[in-house]
């Protein structure tokens, strides 16, 4: 671009070029003024991009926008008088938007704005001010206490964990038939809350509990994000929850007048799985409420017409051949039937919903997380008498390894622990809203509260080893932290197999939990064994434990023969000879040979005898 064009700015409307602007700064200013006066829509955003010599006007949908208070001549447009009126409900938020007190900026226009956090930050250049400092965080982060003391990467994790937390997700859970639902037994409101948390009323359906946490190791059992929890606390209901799963089935109609039927399948039905499978079903073919069910049990007995039209339709007359299509509890699942519901679809077909409930007491492998992106998996559940205890006889619910703090920079976790303890001993709910107070001021406040009740001002306690009864040499930071139980539980994920199902096509073991599959011994694992020179181990993995097949190879033509069981001789389909050698090959290789044959290529095997 030549130099003389530098003052000309391209004007883009929603990314499309409209023309040139000679005086970009005035232009942008005028557009913004028009917007503030309400002459043009408040949804219009203008951005001046000096680097690219362009002005971008955006009016299209899908932009993320955020409201700011407009600052002019170092003065906030939101005057105390207006604020007063707002408190009295004489005006509302929209009034402020319409009258040029607030405006929404999109990501692009934000680049032109210089935003002050508060009145004290306003300088000559300031164009906007945050309505509240906490608005620099998202909503989820603002529901956690002291987010300003945490690493931002932990906030990203925290936002995910919040979604995964179990709690009282809906108070009508009893009449809902969610396909999967998790319900915490004794949800508690957190001791340390924030104004955002209070504002949305989620404390009436909370999703966690206040744990007494000691920042201590426990032999080697809480290394690397593992946690140790107190067995007696678990027995008292800590982290206890219920898992609901709903099974649905429908009596479908098929073209040709056939339809499904809910009933206990007759032993003659195709795919009948045996009497024991259907033994818990009622007379109507549906399981009874409060019946305990285990994997392999039928919940809804159903027969369906055969998948393919058979030639003997009508010939049988009365008993048409039916196929078993019952709903079976999958491997690893168990529980009690909570409730059964009959309804109807819009197509007037019968629908049955069976909700199975199963208790999920915390066990080794279940996942917990605090509100600071600090997740942990239970590695050990220790009886209360073996847990460390304080002078007052308080036994922590959870032992968190102190190594999990410094590298992750989650100082908010420590602050919450202190605040939680102070709140617990003083009987107060603590406000942990971001930027509400300086960290040091807050600490002083909590320390005073603790001292008032005779506790150490730093939250440290002398802990005694539950096994030896001796005090630990170091004082241990103990407090109260709000923990979420996350819905990742071993009992839903655990899977084992030694021998088991194989795929029909390849004769190789199946893959995946749903099919009781094995773990794949893949290409890179294969490479490792080759690299080590372990030829027999490799053969065992890839052949003996996988798709070994014994085939007959014709000594004359090298084709694969078969054994004729009626004549009791081996036959070569090519030359009819009967001199064979029995050879172990992988079934995959047999398929390969078959496929090569299907290409009209004749592979033959020469045996070195």
């Amino acid at each position: 671009m030549a130099k003389e064009d530098n003052n000309k700015y391209y004007l883009y409307l929603n990314g499309r070029i409209l023309g040139y602007v000679d005086d970009p700064k005035t232009y942008v200013k005028e557009v913004r003024e028009a917007r503030r006066k309400g002459l043009i829509s408040g949804e219009v955003n203008v951005a001046l991009i000096e680097k690219l010599n362009s002005i971008d006007i955006n009016t299209d949908k899908g932009r993320i926008r955020k409201p700011y208070i407009i600052i002019e001549d170092k003065k906030s447009k939101l005057t105390p008088e207006l604020l007063d009126k707002l408190w009295k409900h004489e005006i509302d938020f929209n009034y402020l938007l319409r009258n040029g007190v607030l405006e929404y900026l999109d990501a692009e226009e934000e680049e032109n704005a210089i935003v002050a956090f508060g009145d004290e930050d306003i300088t000559d250049q300031t164009t906007h001010m945050e309505i509240d400092v906490t608005a620099i965080f998202g909503f989820t982060v603002n529901t956690t206490p002291f987010p300003e003391h945490n690493n931002i990467a932990r906030h990203a994790m925290l936002a995910n964990f919040t979604k995964q937390a179990e709690g009282l997700y809906a108070s009508n859970f009893n009449i809902r038939f969610d396909s999967r639902a998790y319900l915490l037994f004794y949800p508690q409101a957190p001791i340390v809350t924030t104004s955002a948390y209070e504002g949305v009323n989620i404390k009436h359906h909370p999703s966690g509990q206040n744990f007494v946490v000691a920042l201590s190791t426990y032999y080697g059992y809480n290394m690397a994000d593992a946690v140790v929890i107190n067995k007696s606390a678990v027995d008292r209901g800590l982290g206890r929850s219920i898992f609901y799963k709903t099974y649905v089935d429908e009596e479908r109609r098929y073209p040709g007048g056939q339809k499904d039927k809910f009933k206990i399948p007759a032993p003659t039905a195709e795919g009948y799985m045996g009497e024991h499978v259907y033994s818990k079903l009622g007379d109507d073919g549906i399981i009874e409420p409060e019946m305990h069910v285990d994997e392999g049990d039928a919940l809804i007995g159903k027969v369906a017409p055969p998948r393919f039209l058979e030639e003997n339709i009508g010939a049988g007359g009365l008993e048409e051949k039916m196929r078993d299509d019952s709903s079976i509890l999958k491997t690893g699942e168990f529980g009690d039937v909570d409730s059964v519901v009959f309804t109807e679809s819009t197509g007037a077909t019968k629908i049955v919903k069976v909700r199975v409930r199963s208790l999920r007491v915390p066990e080794r492998g279940d996942k917990f997380a605090s509100r600071h992106g600090q997740k942990g998996v239970i590695a050990m559940i220790v009886p209360q008498e073996d847990m460390p205890f304080t002078e007052n006889g308080v036994v922590p619910d959870l032992l968190l390894n102190p190594h999990s703090i410094p590298t992750r920079l989650t100082f908010g976790h420590l602050l919450e622990e202190l605040a939680g303890k102070a709140g617990a001993v003083d009987g107060k709910i603590i406000n942990g809203t971001a930027f509400a107070e300086k960290g040091s001021v807050r600490m002083e406040e909590y320390s005073k509260m603790l001292e008032k009740h005779g506790f150490d001002r730093n939250g440290e306690e002398v802990l005694y080893d539950g096994i030896t009864g001796m005090p630990f040499k170091a004082k241990i930071f103990t407090g109260v932290v709000y923990y979420n139980r996350l819905y990742h539980m071993v009992s839903n994920k655990m899977q084992v197999r030694s021998r088991g199902k194989v795929q029909i096509l390849t004769h190789q073991p199946t893959e995946g939990k749903a099919r009781q599959g094995a773990l794949r011994f893949g290409e890179m694992e294969r490479d490792a064994l080759i690299g080590y020179g372990a030829s027999l181990l490799l053969k065992e993995r890839l052949l003996d434990q996988s798709d070994k097949a014994e085939v007959l190879i014709c000594k004359q033509c090298g084709d694969i023969g078969y054994y004729d069981r009626i004549k009791r001789v081996a036959v070569c389909p090519l030359d009819g000879s009967s001199s064979f050698e029995e050879v172990e090959i992988s079934y995959a290789f047999k398929i390969l040979l078959d496929e090569i044959k299907s290409l009209h290529i004749m592979p033959s095997i020469k045996l070195n005898l």
């Binding site: 080759i530 027999l536 490799l538």
Partner: protein, 348 residues
């Protein structure tokens, strides 16, 4: 004695799968390499491809590297004296017509091409319009007349097509230096204080003919250029050296023997072969091993057409059929079978 034992431990033992180990030893650190990382502040033209893209380029035996680079050592006074070094540099640095031309106009009615040279550029390359015209005349057998910074070329035709073709050729003509040598820049070795040149080209064949260039040490990162000029052994060394240099740059330490093995495998046939489909993997003896890699159908059809026999001596094909692999513990076999023992007469 103790030292001997230690050396022995490092020797490759019988039937050790060295190729697999080399592949893993290069492949694993390769996953840690950051794609196109660390760019050095320095001469713009001397920034070479580095990291994974460079490794891929070497291992795939690309005919031309993305950033050819030559390290040109100097002899005599040029190695110490910066003036002399600059002089050699000017002899090598490739100057194309298009960098000298400010404007070029064809006159189709008169059949002439008028070139206006840029004085600034000429000055920096230490050339005169006369020299340029002479060179052009010699190079393309043209009638050139010089007038100030203007060169007029009179063509003996008014054919539009021919004139345009000549114009394009003129713009590509190399006026001074060596075609394909790029810009040579004088560098100083920090340790020895020796001067050498770095050029962004790999026409080493011509570069070493320039007076003042040390033929024995001059080097390029273009493995094929090394092969053409110095032969396959030099190419093998260059390959290993480039691989090592690329890994070292990323601070990844891989034993040089793994890299030498790769270089050996790639050059064993006497010319440079890549490791992929058109190189080592595509030329395996076993039909199954080739079919298992890429272009399955092609290999099977060809095997059928020519009646190929798979000797089943490699690793891949034996895994495929489910035999013990002839590597490591699988490489030992019974010398005599049990049933044959009876045939052996016991010594009386």
């Amino acid at each position: 004695m103790a030292k001997e034992k230690k050396d022995d431990e490092f020797k490759v033992k019988f039937s050790e799968p060295v190729g697999m180990m080399a592949a893993q030893s290069v492949g694993e650190p390769g996953t840690q390499m950051i794609l196109r990382s660390f760019h050095f502040a320095g001469i713009e033209s001397a920034i070479a491809t580095s990291g994974l893209p460079r490794i891929v380029e070497l291992v795939d035996a690309k005919k031309k590297p993305a950033t050819p680079l030559s390290t040109i050592y100097l002899t005599g006074s040029a190695a110490k004296d910066i003036e002399a070094a600059e002089k050699v540099s000017r002899k090598i640095t490739e100057v194309k017509m298009n960098t000298l031309v400010r404007r070029i106009v064809e006159n189709f009615s008169k059949g002439t091409i008028k070139i206006l040279l840029s004085g600034q550029e000429l000055e920096s390359e230490e050339l005169t319009p006369k020299q340029v015209a002479d060179k052009l005349g010699k190079l393309m057998k043209l009638d050139c007349s010089v007038e100030g910074f203007a060169i007029t070329i009179s063509m003996h035709t008014k054919n539009l097509r021919e004139i345009r073709a000549v114009r394009v050729k003129i713009m590509r003509a190399v006026i001074s230096g060596i075609d394909g040598a790029g810009k040579a820049v004088v560098q100083k070795d920090n340790k020895t204080g020796e001067l050498y040149l770095i050029s962004a080209g790999s026409n080493i064949e011509s570069i070493i003919t320039v007076e003042g260039v040390d033929k024995s040490r001059t080097y390029t990162n273009d493995v094929f250029a090394m092969y053409r000029q110095f032969g396959i052994e030099a190419a093998r060394n260059a390959l290993a050296r480039e691989l090592k240099a690329t890994l070292d740059e990323q601070k990844i330490s891989v034993d040089i023997r793994h890299l030498l093995l790769i270089a050996d495998a790639m050059t064993a046939s006497g010319n440079i072969k890549g490791v992929g489909r058109h190189g080592l993997s595509g030329e395996k003896h076993s039909v199954f091993a080739r079919a298992a890699y890429e272009e399955t159908i092609k290999h099977l059809i060809n095997a059928a057409a020519f009646g190929e026999i798979d000797p089943m001596r490699g690793v891949t094909e034996n895994i495929l059929v489910g035999k013990q692999i002839p590597v490591g513990t699988g490489s030992v076999k019974l010398a005599i079978r049990k049933e044959d023992m009876a045939k052996v007469k016991p010594k009386a």
